[in-house]
C-alpha cells in the first residue's frame, strides 16, 4: 500500500465522519451552543469534508487510470459462514464526483442557511439535521457494498423526512414529510428485495463481487430482471420519477435551503448514481434499462408540462428538478453514464442557484411564494436577477453556460442509438421547449413588468443589500459555477470528466460523432430560443393574455387523486373498520376488563375482612382442616 493509498483512505473517513461529529456536537451541546455556533459547526464540517474530498481526488489522479479504486474497511457488520458484510468505503472516480458535489454544494447551501434560518426558534435542530443529511448522503456515495448503500439510502430518507417536516406546527409540512417517507419506503422495500435475491445467488453484496458475477447472473433472465427492477424502483422513488414522483412538489414545505440541497442537488440524484454504479447489472437486463430511459423521458415531458401552470415559485423549480432528473435517467438508461453524471454535476450547480436565488426573493418578500403577487423585482434586486438569469440560462441550455454542454451530450447520444434512441431524442427536444417556457415564465413573472403591491410594501423597508451576506455570497459562488462548470467537457475539444469516469462506468452507448453533436446543439439551441420568445410574448409584455391552463395540468395529471383512491382511502377505511370491530371491543375492552376484574376480585377478597372475630375463627378452622387434609393425603 503506497502512501497515497493511505491518504485516500484517511480522506474517505474524514469526509464521511466530520459531519457526523458535527451532529453529535450540536445534539449534545444543546442550549450551551449558540445558534450561530451550530451553523458554523455544520458549515465547517461540510467544508472539512470538501477539503478531504479534494485531497482524495488529487491523490487519486496521481495514480494510473486503471488503479483508481480504493476500498477501505472499518469492521465487520454481519458475518456468517456463507456471507459477510463489512463497513467498507469505496473511493473511485464515480464516488469522488458525488463526494465533491455533496460536500461542495452542501457547504455553500449550509452557509446560506446561516443567513436564511437566522432567528428561527429551532435553528440548532435544523443544523443538526442538515449535517446528519450530509453524513448520510456521503455514506450512500462512499459505500463499497449494497448494504452500506442501503443504510445510507434509508438515512437520507430519514433526514429528508425530518427536514421537510421541520416546521412541524404546520400540518401541511407534516403531511408532506409523511408522504415523502412512505413513497420512499416503497422504493426501499423494492431495493431490499433485490438485495435479498443478490445475496441468495451471489452470497455477497460487495460491489466488486456482485459486478464480477454480473455476466453469470445475466444468464438467468428472471433473476437479473427482478434484481434490476427492484433497484430501479428504489431509484425512481428516491429521484421522484413517474410514477413515484408525487412527494417532491409537496416536499417544498421544507425550508428553501433544504429544497436546494436535498431535493435538487443531492438526494434526488441518488437514483441516477445508483443506476450508474450498478451499470454492469443493468447492462445485463436491457429491458429494465430501457424502461429506465423511457420513464425518464415520460417524466421530463409530464413534469415539464405541469411546471407551466404552477403558481408557487418553489414548485416550478421542483417540477423542473424532476424534469432534469428525467434527462439523467434517460442518459443512464441508454448507457451514456458519463453524460448522465456530467448533467448531474451541472444540474447541482444551476438548480441550487435557482433555489437559493428564489430563497433570497422569498426572504425579501417576507415569506411570499406566489408568483402572481410578484413582479418588477429587477430594478430593486438587480444582483439576484442576474444570478437567476444565469441559473435559468444554464437550465435552458444556453451557451456558454454549463447546462448547454451537459444537456446536449445527452441528446446527441440519444439520437445515435437506434430507433428507441430517436424517440427519446424527440422527447428530449420537446423537453427543451418546455424547459425554456416554464423557466422564463418564472423569470418574467417575478422580475419584469411593474412592481406589484407586495413588492412595493416589502422592499420599501429594504435599503441597500438585497439580503444578508451569508445568503448572497453562496449565490454568487454558485453563479460562477453555473457559468463555468460546463467547461469540463466540451465536445470534440476536451473531455477530462468522461475520461475520469471511464474506468468505472464505460459508456455503453454508441458515441456520437463530433459534427453530429454540434449540429444537434444548434438545433436544441434554436428550440430553446424559440421557447424563450414565446414566454416573453406571453408573460413579459402582455401578461394578462396567458392561455387558461387545462384542468389535467393543474391537477398534476391526476396522479395524486389516483393514489388517493387506490391507496390512501382503502387504507384509511380499513384502519377505521379495524378500529371499530377489533381494537375497541377486543383490545381496549380487555384492558378495561382487566381493571374492572381486578377491582371485582379485590372487592370479593375484601369481604373476608369484615371485622368479625367469628369470621377469623372460621378462617383459622378452615385453614387447619385443609392442612390436616393435606397431611392425611400426603401421608
Amino acid at each position: 500500500m503506497s502512501a497515497g493509498s493511505h491518504v485516500i483512505a484517511a480522506c474517505a473517513w474524514v469526509c464521511l465522519l466530520t459531519p457526523l461529529a458535527a451532529v453529535c456536537a450540536i445534539a449534545l451541546g444543546g442550549n450551551r451552543l449558540s445558534r450561530r455556533a451550530a451553523g458554523y459547526l455544520a458549515t465547517g464540517s461540510t467544508a472539512v469534508s470538501f477539503v478531504a474530498a479534494v485531497t482524495a481526488l488529487v491523490a487519486t489522479l496521481d495514480r494510473s487510470a486503471g488503479d483508481r479504486s480504493r476500498v477501505t474497511t472499518a469492521f465487520g457488520l454481519i458475518e456468517t459462514h456463507a456471507f459477510k458484510i463489512n463497513l467498507n468505503l469505496l473511493v473511485d472516480p464515480l464516488a469522488l464526483v458525488m463526494m465533491l458535489v455533496v460536500s461542495g454544494v452542501g457547504t455553500l447551501i449550509i452557509a446560506y442557511s446561516i443567513g436564511y434560518m437566522k432567528g428561527e426558534s429551532e435553528e440548532r435542530r435544523y443544523f443538526a439535521y442538515i449535517a446528519f443529511f450530509a453524513f448520510s448522503m456521503l455514506l450512500l456515495v462512499e459505500a463499497a457494498n449494497f448494504f452500506v448503500l442501503l443504510v445510507g439510502w434509508g438515512l437520507v430518507g430519514l433526514s429528508s423526512y425530518l427536514l421537510i417536516g421541520f416546521w412541524h406546527e404546520r400540518p401541511s409540512a407534516v403531511a408532506a414529510a409523511k408522504k415523502a417517507f412512505i413513497i420512499n419506503a416503497v422504493g426501499d422495500a423494492a431495493m431490499a428485495l433485490a438485495l435479498f435475491l443478490l445475496i441468495q445467488h451471489t452470497s455477497t453484496l460487495d460491489f466488486a463481487g456482485v459486478f464480477g458475477q454480473a455476466v453469470l447472473l445475466g444468464e438467468n433472465a428472471w433473476l437479473i430482471n427482478l434484481v434490476t427492477a427492484g433497484l430501479l424502483v428504489g431509484a425512481i422513488a428516491k429521484s421522484a420519477q413517474i410514477p413515484l414522483h408525487t412527494w417532491l412538489p409537496d416536499a417544498m414545505e421544507g425550508p428553501t435551503p433544504v429544497s436546494a440541497l436535498i431535493h435538487a442537488a443531492t438526494m434526488v440524484t441518488a437514483g441516477v448514481y445508483l443506476i450508474v454504479r450498478a451499470h454492469p447489472l443493468f447492462e445485463q437486463a436491457p429491458h429494465v434499462q430501457q424502461t429506465a430511459a423511457g420513464l425518464g423521458a415520460a417524466t421530463l415531458l409530464a413534469t415539464g408540462a405541469i411546471a407551466l401552470v404552477q403558481t408557487d415559485i418553489k414548485r416550478v423549480i421542483a417540477y423542473s428538478t424532476m424534469s432534469q432528473i428525467g434527462y439523467m435517467f434517460l442518459a443512464a438508461g441508454i448507457g451514456a453514464y458519463g453524460a448522465a453524471m456530467f448533467h448531474l454535476v451541472t444540474h447541482a450547480f444551476f438548480k441550487a442557484l435557482l433555489f437559493l436565488g428564489a430563497g433570497v426573493v422569498i426572504h425579501a418578500l417576507g415569506g411570499e411564494q406566489d408568483m402572481r403577487k410578484m413582479g418588477g423585482l429587477r430594478k430593486r434586486m438587480p444582483r439576484t436577477f442576474v444570478a437567476m438569469l444565469i441559473g435559468a440560462g444554464a437550465l435552458v441550455g444556453l451557451p456558454p453556460l454549463s447546462g448547454f454542454f451537459s444537456k446536449d451530450a445527452i441528446l446527441s447520444t440519444a439520437i445515435s442509438n437506434g430507433t428507441y434512441g430517436k424517440v427519446l431524442f424527440a422527447a428530449g427536444i420537446a423537453g427543451v421547449l418546455l424547459t425554456a417556457l416554464y423557466t422564463f415564465r418564472l423569470l418574467f413573472l417575478v422580475f419584469s413588468g411593474e412592481e406589484s403591491e407586495l413588492v412595493r410594501k416589502s422592499l420599501a423597508k429594504h435599503k441597500g443589500t438585497e439580503g444578508p451576506r451569508w445568503m448572497t455570497a453562496p449565490v454568487a459562488v454558485l453563479a460562477l459555477l453555473a457559468v463555468g462548470g460546463g467547461w469540463l467537457e466540451i465536445a470534440g475539444l476536451w473531455h477530462p470528466f468522461s475520461s475520469f469516469l471511464e474506468g468505472v462506468a464505460p459508456p455503453f452507448a454508441a458515441e456520437p460523432s463530433v459534427a453530429r453533436e454540434w449540429l444537434l446543439s444548434a438545433v436544441s439551441l434554436g428550440v430553446a430560443l424559440g421557447g424563450i420568445w414565446i414566454a416573453w410574448t406571453i408573460y413579459s409584455a402582455r401578461r394578462q393574455q396567458a392561455p387558461r391552463a387545462p384542468g389535467a395540468l393543474t391537477e398534476k395529471l391526476y396522479f395524486d387523486r389516483a393514489y388517493d383512491l387506490l391507496f390512501y382511502l382503502p387504507a384509511v377505511s380499513l384502519a377505521r373498520r379495524l378500529g371499530a370491530w377489533f381494537e375497541r371491543p377486543v383490545i381496549e375492552r380487555s384492558g378495561e376488563e382487566i381493571g374492572t376484574g381486578a377491582l371485582a376480585g379485590g372487592r370479593f377478597s375484601a369481604a373476608i375482612q369484615n371485622g368479625l372475630a367469628r369470621t377469623y375463627v372460621l378462617l383459622v378452622a378452615a385453614g387447619v382442616s385443609v392442612i390436616v387434609l393435606l397431611f392425611l393425603v400426603l401421608r
Binding site: 369481604a607 369484615n610 368479625l612 367469628r614 369470621t615 372460621l618 378452622a621 378452615a622 387447619v624 382442616s625 390436616v628 387434609l629 392425611l632
Partner: protein
C-alpha cells in the same frame, strides 16, 4: 365379655351420651343460663370419663375447680349480665353460618378418619398401669420434679389473671359515659 366389662361399657355409654348431649345443648340453647348449666353437666360427664381412664386426681380437680369454681364464676356473671335479652342466636354474613358448620364437620370427620386409621394399628393395646397411676401422689411427684417449671409458670399465670380480673372489674372514681364504643 366379662361383667366388669359390660358395666364399664354401660357407664361409658351413659357418660358419652351425657357429654355429647350437653355439648350440643351448650351450643344450641338460647338462654345463657341454661347453656352454663349444660356445660356443668358436660364437665361432670367428662369427670366420669377421667375416672374410667385412671385419672382420679384430674377427675377430682375437674369437678372441684372447673365445675365448682370456674362455672360458678360464670353463673355469677350471667346473673349480673342477664339472660332475658333478645340477642340474636347467630348472624353475620350468610356464608359465616354455613362455613362454620362445614368447617367444624370437616375437622370432626378428619379427626375421626385419623383415629380410625390409627385404631386398627397402634391404638389397639393400652399399656398396663399400676394402681398408683393417676393418684395425687404420683401427679404431685411429677409436678415437683419433671414439670416444676410448668408448675411455677402456671402459678404466675394465675396471679396475672387475678390481677387482670381485678383491674377489669375496678370502678373508676370519675366514670365517663360513652364507653368503649
Amino acid at each position: 365379655m366379662s361383667a366388669g366389662n359390660i358395666l364399664v361399657w354401660i357407664v361409658w355409654l351413659a357418660a358419652a351420651a351425657g357429654c355429647i348431649g350437653s355439648a350440643l345443648a351448650v351450643v344450641a340453647l338460647r338462654n345463657a343460663l341454661f347453656s352454663a348449666l349444660a356445660l356443668i353437666g358436660n364437665l361432670i360427664s367428662l369427670a366420669v370419663f377421667y375416672l374410667l381412664l385412671s385419672a382420679e386426681f384430674v377427675a377430682a380437680a375437674q369437678v372441684l375447680i372447673y365445675a365448682g369454681a370456674v362455672m360458678v364464676m360464670f353463673l355469677f356473671v350471667i346473673a349480673y349480665v342477664g339472660w332475658d335479652k333478645d340477642i340474636a342466636w347467630t348472624g353475620g354474613p350468610r356464608w359465616q353460618t354455613l362455613g362454620g358448620v362445614v368447617a367444624a364437620a370437616a375437622l370432626l370427620s378428619e379427626l375421626v378418619v385419623v383415629i380410625v386409621l390409627g385404631a386398627t394399628n397402634d391404638l389397639e393395646h393400652a399399656d398396663h398401669v399400676s394402681a398408683n397411676f393417676g393418684s395425687p401422689a404420683s401427679i404431685g411427684r411429677l409436678f415437683m420434679s419433671n414439670h416444676l417449671l410448668a408448675f411455677e409458670v402456671i402459678s404466675i399465670v394465675l396471679v396475672v389473671a387475678a390481677i387482670g380480673g381485678v383491674i377489669l372489674g375496678a370502678q373508676r372514681r370519675r366514670e365517663r359515659s360513652g364507653g368503649i364504643r
